[in-house]
């Protein structure tokens, strides 16, 4: 239940990313490369307290090892202001506005999770990136689920030669290790394409990966469901095969399907992240959790800017949430649990 709420928060944040983030995903500030998180101050220089936090303007110098050191300019305070005008954007893609949920007045900048090598706010980019990373898993898995349910339903319902043929195809797809299949499919697609098209290609790739497992399990369930009298009753009333499969048998597999979708979404998210991490997915300047994490492939980078790992933390949190949600749903749907009176 907590994971459901957490996921709702994640997805709402993704929807309202442009409103919640202080800066657009491609807003560069070359004077602040790799800036650490801006310290939030509650105590003024003279020692008096402020209720709302404020920040100081920062700039960098180099230390004796030619490493960048950011220092605060304590002469002026920049309080964090809510509903502050900034870059223009459209809430839900409809309402044009300049208002952002929070921010600080220029020339100070606020980096809650630090800045990347171009001085872009990591927090803003994570929010924008969540749009891609969270939706791609969901869309990809839904597509693969529709395919999986249909193929499994048809195989299980008709049985015999149809079943045999479809299941051999399924096994062939399952035979190939997922990650290599992911790479092979990506390699089969053109290299220089816009990020929007890339998005749909990734959806296609992910759905191609996921349907086989679903099809196999659904087939098993349908094999037993088709023996139910209501299947032959629907036929006796004059329904066609496809209608019986889609309207009468598959709805009975839904409780399994919902759990399975929930448990499959993380693999979609991870698949996209993996592609983007390797530079094969969403390209800069667009943000996705995977391509942001790509910077963390360098050990030295992690050593000097541990903040590059933040997108990883978000991936971790979301994947865990989906796992817990799926587990919870499975317990809730489990008829054995219900029968014995155990309620989760």
């Amino acid at each position: 239940m907590a994971s459901l709420i957490a996921l709702a928060v994640f997805y709402l944040a993704a929807v309202f990313a442009d409103f919640l983030s202080p800066y657009p995903y491609d807003n560069e500030e070359r004077s602040h490369p790799n800036a650490p998180p801006t310290p939030l101050r509650f105590r003024r220089a003279d020692g008096s307290a402020r209720f709302l936090p404020f920040v100081y303007r920062t700039s960098y110098t180099f230390d004796e090892n030619r490493g960048r050191v950011y220092v605060e300019d304590r002469s002026a305070e920049y309080p964090i202001r809510f509903f502050i005008p900034g870059e223009e954007h459209r809430i839900l893609g409809l309402i044009p506005t300049r208002i952002h949920f929070f921010g600080v007045d220029a020339p100070a900048r606020i980096y809650l999770l630090g800045a990347d090598y171009l001085g872009r706010d990591r927090f803003s980019r994570i929010l924008y990136g969540s749009r891609i990373s969270l939706s791609i898993g969901l869309v990809g898995v839904s597509v693969s689920f529709v395919i999986g349910m249909l193929v499994g339903g048809i195989a299980g319902y008709f049985g015999g030669a149809v079943d045999n043929a479809l299941m051999r195809v399924v096994e062939m797809v399952m035979l190939i290790p997922r990650f290599y299949l992911l790479l092979a499919l990506r390699a089969a697609l053109p290299e220089d394409i816009s990020s929007v098209r890339m998005y749909f290609y990734i959806v296609f790739i992910l759905s191609f990966l996921g349907w086989a497992g679903t099809a196999r399990v659904v087939r098993g369930m349908v094999l037993s469901l088709r023996e139910q009298d209501y299947v032959i009753a629907a036929r006796a009333l004059g329904r066609g095969h496809l209608w019986v499969i889609v309207r009468h048998i598959l709805p009975n597999t839904l409780s399994y399907a919902i759990v399975s979708v929930t448990l499959a979404v993380p693999s979609g998210i991870l698949g996209e992240s993996a592609l983007s991490l390797l530079g094969l997915g969403i390209q800069e300047p667009y943000a996705s959790w995977g391509n942001m994490l790509a910077k963390a492939m360098n050990v030295a980078e992690i050593q000097f800017n541990p903040e590059v790992l933040w997108p990883g933390a978000f991936i971790f949190a979301v994947v865990m949430c989906f796992q817990f949600l799926g587990d919870g749903l499975r317990d809730a749907f489990d008829p054995m649990m219900e029968a014995s009176g155990v309620k989760s």
Partner: protein, 345 residues
């Protein structure tokens, strides 16, 4: 087809005062092609159902009653297949129809209800939804009209407060109510033939009587014919006008209910009655039929009942008996049977 059988059919038809049968099944063969061999579940079955009558089909489990019923609607699934014979419903030859044409027959001309009401309704939809779906499949009506028709049907099958029940799911209804809903669904498109495959077996006795009465009433109201499949001779006595007794994929005896009960002629039918408890025959042991139903993969030569029959003669082992007319509308597939029942003496 033998000449004897042909005469039998003619005679039966003549006795119906020239009324054409609603359903005429001729020499139906439905075989199951399994890995261990061919199971002749239905092997040369012929019968007819006349308009407005109830035909009782009686037999042990596995004698081919249900497969016959499914064959009429062409719903036999692989490895089963109709390998021969004709099925004529209302002048239309069903075995020659395309699957798409067959779909228009199912539900509209012939509908079917099943043994287990709990599994013949889809658990994830409300009964109203399922009945409206059936109505809208065959009739061009709007959703609201279909809903009204569904409520009317539920009222006809004596479900109290149908307008409220329509939104309920199968698990909220009792077994009897479910069977009523199932009947409402099957009859929603006013079929002329209703095939009821053991409709009361899963219900308790008082509900059984209610459902049977309901079927009788609806048959009269809607002027349809009912083919009632059962292994319960009591049910047959209660509502069927004619009875067909099946054994191991064959029809062994067909007659009016009265003559079957008063003067059964086939040794198997007699055996069925002897194995029933009877009022006024206290402390008499029931006489089960010796032996067991033959394996459909390996039917005995000659008459299929011959290994269990007390009256078996040499001819029974060599030659398969055909249906012979031995009385008014009474035909029997037995070499030794005589019309006066003298062979049992």
């Amino acid at each position: 087809m033998s000449s004897e059988q042909a005469t039998a059919e003619k005679t039966v038809e003549a006795q119906q005062d020239g009324i054409r049968p609603l359903l005429a099944v001729r020499d139906l063969r439905t075989h199951f092609f399994t890995e261990r061999g061919v199971a002749r579940a239905v092997d040369g079955v012929s019968f007819e159902v006349f308009p407005g009558e109830t035909l009782g089909v009686v037999g042990e489990s596995g004698c081919g009653k249900s497969v016959t019923a499914l064959s009429i609607l062409r719903l036999v699934t692989p490895p089963g297949r109709i390998t021969g014979g004709t099925i004529t419903l209302d002048g239309q030859e069903l075995t020659a129809l395309l699957e798409s044409e067959m779909r228009r027959v199912r539900g509209r001309k012939a509908a079917m209800i099943f043994q287990e009401p709990q599994s013949s309704l889809n658990p994830v939809f409300s009964i109203g939804f399922q009945i409206t779906e059936a109505i809208r499949l065959h009739q061009k009506v709007t959703r609201t009209e279909a809903e009204e028709l569904a409520i009317e049907m539920l009222g006809r099958v004596a479900i109290p407060d149908p307008a409220k029940r329509i939104g309920e799911y199968p698990h909220q209804l009792s077994g009897g109510m479910k069977q009523r809903a199932m009947i409402a669904m099957a009859l929603s498109c006013r079929p002329s033939l209703l095939i009821a495959d053991e409709p009361t077996t899963a219900l308790d006795v008082t509900i059984q009587a209610q459902i049977l009465n309901l079927l009788q009433e609806l048959r009269e109201q809607l002027g349809m014919s009912v083919m009632l499949i059962t292994h319960n001779l009591g049910i047959v006595a209660q509502i069927a006008r004619r009875v067909m007794v099946m054994y191991a994929g064959k029809v062994v005896e067909t007659a009016s209910t009265e003559s079957v009960f008063h003067k059964p002629l086939h040794p198997y039918t007699v055996g069925l009655f002897r194995s029933l408890p009877k009022l006024g025959r206290k402390s008499q042991k029931l006489a089960p039929i010796p032996g067991e139903v033959p394996n459909p993969l390996d039917a005995p030569p000659g008459c299929r009942f011959q290994p269990r029959c007390g009256l078996c003669v040499e001819r029974c082992r060599a030659e398969e008996p055909k249906l012979r007319i031995l009385g008014e509308g009474h035909s029997v597939a037995c070499h030794v049977a005589q019309s006066d029942g003298a062979h049992f003496a």
